[in-house]
């Protein structure tokens, strides 16, 4: 092993039909360091990690050298044997199984012919202690929050001896507290000698804990930063290949008008249990205004949005919703769409897009009636509509007939946005509009939001990224545990938002 390098990637190149995903990538990973890979969506980071962990066993050229030995992993099991563990962005846990069953899934300890559950429980308890998770190992995974599930994943990875732990956007779905916890754990692991390779879009955490940062752009490694060289500006500059002065574009001539949506004492109770999900929430949005709703995941933000949007099969609602000062009642989302409300979901894969269908079919889905002539959908006009949005939102794709499932996150988000813009909304609710997408696409979405409010639209932006809320909003409401904790009109700062959110 030269210079303490545990993993060496030499001239790694991988081509998919039509695209070069990786182009002669060379990276050296030192033993015991926290090494971040940064880059826009589609830059090739995940592909690279899939090669390292054996998911892609062929179809690439170049060498993977682990501890001085050339490797050619045929599958994940082989890389695992050599001490490489990978945790994907989408968690691979079985919700209906207990924590210990999940941890030993696929590697059951046996006593004779039968699974030795006592051994499982004991070992699992040890592992949970290691990752700092204090819950009963017999708890079903579905009852855990996403942050705790992430820890269970790591415990599962630590089940066998791990030299290199790869984490693909581990904090993308976590709130601030859980993220901090996780990062602390990573540092603890580092101290025990585990090498961590992480992919992240959250540059704040990168600068906080990284020993080394490699920036990848268009399948090539652009630069490697260490020590004092690591700064957000430096990373962004290399990621996008140009300087972005301000990631939150400034808004020219603000023109805030009358109240367009007003919510009064909105309460939602879960049917059956009568648990209060939303407690007497009142707020409003004006035309030409961006209102930020800040709060942690699970605070009731998405429930609030869905209640306004008329999609509450599980809840009993009370309170008033007024649009242009007239009270409205929505039985379903169709009613809400008709009244000019659009909701862009936080979960574009789960309930935003039909991934098996192409871009144009997804864009027109919520407003198909607009294309119907004599009972039939006018497919030619549909193509025009889709082309219009492809150009105006710069959706990067070979054709509008490409399946949305094969697009990168940022482009999927743009398709999701295009779909709702096509319904011509007056009030646009954006739920985590930039989650899991890269800096370049983020900037484009922010600019688009500014354009839309300039035309008189009202935007409600739900976000757990404080900087985004601060950078984009005219006013901010803070909610926690289903309650509205307060409103900020001036002095929208991190401190003020946090202090409101922890207010009793």
């Amino acid at each position: 092993m030269k210079n303490n390098i545990i993993l060496e990637l030499v001239n790694v190149t991988k081509e998919f039909p039509g695209v070069k995903a990786l182009d002669n990538v060379n990276i050296n990973i030192k033993k015991g360091e926290i090494h971040f890979l940064c880059g826009e969506n589609g830059a090739g980071k995940s592909t690279l990690m899939k090669i390292v962990s054996g998911v892609y066993s062929s179809g690439y050229s170049g060498n993977i050298i682990l501890k001085g030995e050339k490797q050619n992993f045929k599958n994940i099991a082989e890389s695992k044997k050599k001490g490489i563990a990978i945790i994907y962005q989408e968690l691979a846990l079985v919700p209906e199984m207990s924590i210990y069953e999940n941890i030993f899934l696929g590697a059951e300890r046996k006593k004779g012919m039968f699974v030795d559950f006592n051994e499982h429980i004991m070992e699992a308890e040890k592992l949970l202690k290691e990752v700092g998770l204090k819950v009963n190992v017999a708890e079903k995974v579905k009852n855990l929050g996403i942050g705790k599930q992430q820890l269970v994943e790591i415990a599962k990875a630590l089940r066998e001896k791990v030299d290199i732990l790869i984490l693909d956007e581990p904090t993308a779905a976590l709130n601030e507290d859980d993220s901090k916890n996780l990062l602390k754990l990573i540092e603890t692991l580092k101290n025990t000698g585990v090498t961590c390779i992480m992919i992240s879009h959250k540059l704040k955490e990168v600068t906080a804990i990284a020993d080394t940062v490699t920036v990848i752009r268009d399948g090539k490694n652009i630069c490697t930063l260490t020590g004092d060289e690591i700064s957000e500006d430096e990373i962004i500059k290399n990621m996008v290949g140009r300087q972005i002065d301000n990631i939150y574009p400034a808004r020219e001539n603000k023109n805030i008008g009358e109240i367009s949506l007003e919510v009064e004492n909105l309460t939602a109770k879960e049917q059956g249990t009568n648990k209060e999900i939303l407690k007497e929430i009142s707020f409003n949005v004006k035309t030409g205004e961006i209102v930020g709703i800040s709060g942690l995941m699970g605070a009731g933000r998405t429930e609030l949005a869905l209640a306004i949007f008329g999609n509450t099969p599980k809840y009993k609602l009370s309170g008033k919703i007024k649009i242009d000062n007239k009270e409205v009642h929505f039985r379903n989302t169709k009613d809400a769409i008709k009244k000019g409300i659009a909701y862009v979901t936080e979960d574009r894969k789960g309930n935003g897009l039909v991934l098996g269908q192409d871009i144009k079919t997804n864009i027109t889905l919520a407003n198909l009636e607009d294309l119907v002539v004599n009972g039939k959908v006018d497919e030619n006009k549909e193509v025009e509509v889709a082309e219009y949005y492809r150009k105006s939102l710069t959706i990067k794709t070979g054709s509008i007939e490409q399946k949305t499932g094969s697009l990168s996150g940022g482009n999927q988000q743009k398709v999701s946005l295009a779909k709702w813009l096509y319904t011509d909304p007056k009030i646009l609710i954006l739920d985590e509009p930039t989650r899991g997408i890269d800096v370049g696409a983020k900037f484009e979405i922010y600019s688009l939001m500014n354009e839309l409010v300039a035309k008189g639209m009202s935007i409600i932006m739900i976000s757990s990224e404080l900087l985004e809320v601060i950078g984009m909003s005219d006013r901010v409401y803070v909610i926690a545990e289903g309650e509205l904790k307060g409103e900020l009109t001036e002095d929208i700062t991190e401190e003020n938002i946090i202090s409101l959110s922890v207010k009793e």
């Binding site: 309930n351 039909v354 098996g356 889905l365 919520a366 198909l368 119907v372 959908v377 030619n380 399946k403």
Partner: protein
Amino acid sequence: MIELKKLLKENIREYGMYIALVAIFIFFTTTTNGMFLSARNFSNLLNQTGYIAVLSIGVTLVIIIRHIDLSIGYIAGFMGAVIALLLAKGISLFIAIPIVLVMGMIIGLFNGFLVAKLHVPAFVATLAGMLIFRGALLLATEKKGSIIVKNRVFNALGNDFIPSFFEVDAFGIKNTTAIIVGLVLIIIYILSEINTRKIKMNYKFEVISSNLFILKLFFTSSVMFYIAYKLSLYNGISWTVVTVGIITFIYHTIMMKTSLGRHIYAVGGNPEAARLSGISVEKITLIVFSSMGMLAVISGMLYTSRLQSASTTAGAMFELDAIAGAYVGGVSASGGVGKVTNSVLGAIVMAALTNGMNLMGVNISYQYIIKGSILVLAVIFDIQTRKNVK
């Protein structure tokens, strides 16, 4: 030529179905010394497929929205008996047909209600329906074992052909109507293709080159003409073929051209996304199951009419043949994918296998084994080609 290759490559899934059909036809024609493709057998084959094809169309929609309907075979059997009873009581055909169609829709609606509103898994709900209607069929036919239908107009549906209005003495043509209908359909087809192309060009969209376009028109027209000519050599176009043709056309149009069709595909592709887009998943489920019930009745009528009687065994295994046809035709169990036209072709493939093996004198036990293997192969082909496209 390069364009043709590219077109073939991109649409291999689409054309795979046709290639399989042609291969099967060639195979059986050679092994049976041309008997398989004789005018008489060809005509028979289409008529045998009729009642299954109708079910395949309906169940395609059900599978697209990620459900299944096992009750359709015995609904067809039972409702075939019901209309036989109604006709035996002397009720006019023009009253009896609407009655059974509405009954079928209500039965389907009930299945849909169990699935959409009460959240009973479709497999269980329709398995229960299968048992119930099997019992109901036995009750209805209990007394005599079968109910004879004497209504001539009704029996024509499964047995008669569009008559020939005048005779020509050339090329062995016996039924001139088949040729005329064939030519009219070819003209309509060519005109509508040209029109579509024109509109696309007006929008300045990409279209295939004019040479290839003419080749495509020529090829499809030739196939259509060949079928029409084949049929004209025997008794012409049967009312069964007319019925299936009209239903296929209507369902194809709904699925490909209307917002209802789009909504069905969206619900199958991602029900949550569909709901948030303002589509009522419940309503779509009810519509699809209710249409299934109605088509089951039509299938039952075709079968009863073909036998000129309702029997205790009517409807047995229909649902499985129909589902097999849909899968051979490329519908996907994970939802959101499938075409009614291909399901009809799938049903024809399955019927052609039975018909051809019967002509060859293949033992019935081997027939089941071969059909089972082909079903699996077809689905493997489908999954593989879908992967490649991705």
